[in-house]
């Protein structure tokens, strides 16, 4: 649809949250939890951490939670009796105050879970989720959205985007039908924006590498084990990067049962774990960490662009911030970009 530009008084922002609530929307937003920032259900504006650069975890859990029940069953004398879980049994949700990279992160997930026949547990939740992102007035040295085709004001994936244009005023971009529908809940608070130079209010994030060349060089570096080893020697093989990543979609199925009944759960998984590829035979096609690190980069910068026509990275830098041993993906990609092949 045609993008609409409106203005909203900062002081009215709290009304939005109240109205969403009264209209039966669940509102998920960044919330301070000690040193970290979680994305959680909120009831009022003051609970929301709008000032933070980024939430510790990405917003993907709105449609792809870390633990998700997909099946229930009972063990009966006759055999196993299943009860399916309705993937649609979720209420309308508004994802509020997240950053553009969170919103655009969903395009990778859409591509992955959207492949026929389509992952209903993800899709039905996503369907019912409206994303109201806040553009980025600041950035830090881990940010590199602009190098992967995004930006501090990138509207891709957002239904509404809000930008602070003064202490009192917010610019509201209505981007999709979904966004329009939600904005109708506070249409009375909106005034026409007219011409606004949004860029003025956005953080300056330098482009540090040329994406196409990184994609192409990554692809052709598959056998350059020296490179991968060099980059990953200090990697300790945890799953922190994958679990905070807005685009990582790998999951594991686990049955939890006692002698009577059980549930099947879908859980986040990570290609960084040695168990991820361990075969029953004891053979592990990715025996060492450098291979797992290679897989992580190849998947995001080679396989996904090739197969899904989307780069599996939004440049949010969460993986690097979360990494216990300071694996810095921006730095690694830059060095790949500088390879001469």
């Amino acid at each position: 649809m045609e993008k609409e530009l409106k203005k909203l008084k900062y002081s009215d922002l709290s009304k939005l949250i109240e109205r969403f609530g009264s209209q039966g929307y669940a509102v998920l937003a960044p919330v301070h939890k000690g040193k970290i920032v979680e994305i959680e259900a909120v009831q009022s504006l003051d609970a929301i951490a709008l000032d933070v650069l980024l939430s510790t975890q990405s917003a993907k859990k709105a449609a792809f939670p870390k633990v998700e029940k997909v099946l229930e069953y009972t063990l009966e004398k006759a055999g196993v009796k299943q009860q399916a879980i309705d993937p649609g049994a979720y209420g309308e949700t508004i994802l509020f105050g997240v950053r553009p990279c969170d919103a655009s992160g969903f395009k990778s997930l859409d591509a992955i879970f959207g492949e026929a026949p389509g992952d209903q547990f993800y899709l039905r939740k996503k369907e019912k989720t409206t994303i109201i992102s806040f553009s980025c007035p600041t950035a830090d040295e881990y940010c590199f959205c602009t190098s992967v085709g995004g930006g501090p004001g990138n509207t891709e994936g957002s239904d509404l985007q809000i930008t602070a244009i003064s202490k009192e005023e917010l610019l509201v971009e209505i981007l999709t039908e979904k966004g329009k529908k939600v904005s109708s809940l506070f249409a009375d608070l909106l005034t026409d924006a007219g011409e606004v130079d949004k860029a003025k209010f956005l953080a300056d994030v330098k482009v540090v590498f040329e994406l196409d060349s990184v994609v192409q060089k990554t692809t052709s570096s598959f056998n350059n084990m020296e490179l991968w080893l060099d980059q990953s020697l200090r990697c300790i093989g945890c799953g922190a990067c994958a679990f905070v990543c807005p685009t990582c979609a790998c999951f594991d199925f686990q049955d939890e049962q006692n002698t009577k009944k059980g549930v099947r759960l879908r859980l986040w998984d990570s290609c960084g774990f040695s168990l991820f590829t361990l075969h029953t035979s004891g053979h592990n096609p990715r025996e060492v960490q450098s291979q797992r690190w290679r897989q992580r980069l190849m998947h995001k910068f080679s396989y996904m662009p090739e197969q899904l026509k989307v780069v599996g990275c939004e440049g949010c830098g969460r993986c690097s911030r979360a990494c216990p041993v300071d694996m810095n993906v921006k730095e690694h990609l830059t060095s790949i970009g500088q390879l001469t092949i």
Binding site: L75, K77, N258, T259, K260, K261, S281, G282, H283
Partner: protein, 666 residues
Amino acid sequence: MPRIGVFVCHCGENISATVNCEKVAKISSELKGVEFSTDYKYMCSDPGQTMLKEAIKEHKLDGVVVAACSPRMHEPTFRKACAEAGLNPYLCEMSNIREHCSWVHPKDDLTTEKAEDLVRVMVEKVKKNKPLNSIKVPVTKTALVIGGGVAGIQAALDIANCGHKVIMVEKQPSIGGHMSQLSETFPTLDCSQCILTPRMVEIAQHPNITLFTYAEVEKVDGFIGNFKVTIRKKSKSLDEHLCTGCGLCTTKCPQKKIPNEFERGLGYRPAIYVPFPQAVPNKPVIDRENCTYYIKGKCKVCEIVCPTKAIRFDQEDEIVEVDAGAIVLATGFDVLQPDFFPEYGYGKYKDVIDGLQFERLASASGPTLGEIRRPSDGQIPKKIVFVACAGSRDPAKGIEYCSKICCMYTAKHAMLYKHKVHDGTPYVFYMDIRAGGKMYEEFVRRAIVEDETHYIRGRVSTIYEKNGKLIVKGADTLMGAQPIEIEADMVVLATAGVASKGAEALAQTVHVSYDSYKFFAEAHPKLKPVETNTAGIFLAGACQAPKDIPESVAAASGAAVKVAALFSNSELTREPLVAVVNRQAPPVFSSCVGCFLCQSVCPYLAIEREEIKNRNGEVIKTLAKVNEGLCQGCGTCVALCRTKAIDIHGYSNQQVYTEVMALLNE
């Protein structure tokens, strides 16, 4: 899909009285994987076992749960039955719905529900059971007999006569035990020494028997068939090979006033001494506490007079290590210590003595050469009061049991006294007369009728001295508790038999359990009276509970047969419930990381290091490996293992985990 069979036993009324067995069988039949379920009056009976076997064949069962008594009782029975029906015995489990359910709970729904729970747990467990094959371990055909009293002697001779080696360890300088102290024995009144000494000599001369006197067991390692025993031979200060036992030294020793233990302090002995004339071995030892040389540093009279120069003052204790396949405990009993009876003046008045002391007085080889004379002045007592149950059956004294032998020996004492002092009058205070046994009741009658012993039913309250007489106050409960006072010349207390000193320590050394009185505990009060809970260790005689001579001898022979049976094969088959370290295909090999914490907890040194080498012979991994010959299956290593690489058959992680799951999730 598993095919489990459930068999619920009524045990006559024992279970069905409080548990609804039909219901338990019915509920169990509804469990996943249960193919067949039934209840029956006596599962352990022949028809019961036959039914079990037929059900296994007919329903092609691959697992069996018998809900009945304690597995400690009948697990072997039913596992054997399963084996006979072609089912691996380790696919059979028992639910204990008798000892742990029907006998301890009232008749109500909860009790039946508990039984159902216990069955469900085992059904789930047995699904995780694996077929196992028993382990063969070699047997050292040598028996260790600890204690050289009549029980130990009997056990040793029986085993030796079956052609097996025996090592006997006795802590006194001579074997013989309490029996060698007795004068005559009930009910036949034949001389104790006369029947015992030939057996003692036989021990000394038997080609299959090695005798260590003046020695104690310090350490026992290993397990059934393969015990490693450390024995300390206390120094006798004597070269036994040179000593001829002439006894010259004992006559010349300047120390002559040492109270004689064998005579219970009624006589004296020198510092270098033979406990009694018929001692085996009949060679002296030096009692270093009382020897002038060891106290003052000079004397050495014995060394000077010894014709064969056999004395060795600088001789040290010797530590001997022996292998044994089985152990017989025959450490006997002690009698209560004097301080136990302030109210009876035992230890305070010379003429209040205990039964064993009376035995010495009555013994032809005793301090009075068989004449009954009171210790204080050597006068012949005209009135003796015998007090039965001195300590026994007396909760106030903490001894609730009946010492069993006192009634009989008290009657015997009265008789011996009467035979020796014709004008004397014996009185016996008793609670009940317990004379069960062949010719026993008749014997007591004789004491009462022929030897005119005055039996008074009642407890003695107090004894005190009054101008040379012992005033015994008591009551005759048969005469309406009428108070009685007797002026006696001497009082003999039939003191309770108690566990021998050091019984507890020994139990801990050999790892057998013991009861609250420190008597060694049998594996089963009725069906395993001579076995202990520790395989390969057996009980003989009064170390288990007070016993008279025939009983001790019978038990000893019983224990001997158990040993002989164990020795009848060169290998013994052991339950395969041992730990095992998992193995996987390369490059993993095992989830064991080789931290070897398991090694440090293993009491049997059963965990070994196994090096995995590549083609070039380089070690690429070091894993723990269980030596199943040594492993006894305690499973301590399993609980410690962080990678869960080590597990134990029969109580595997899968099994115990499932049991908890099943128990808590109806």
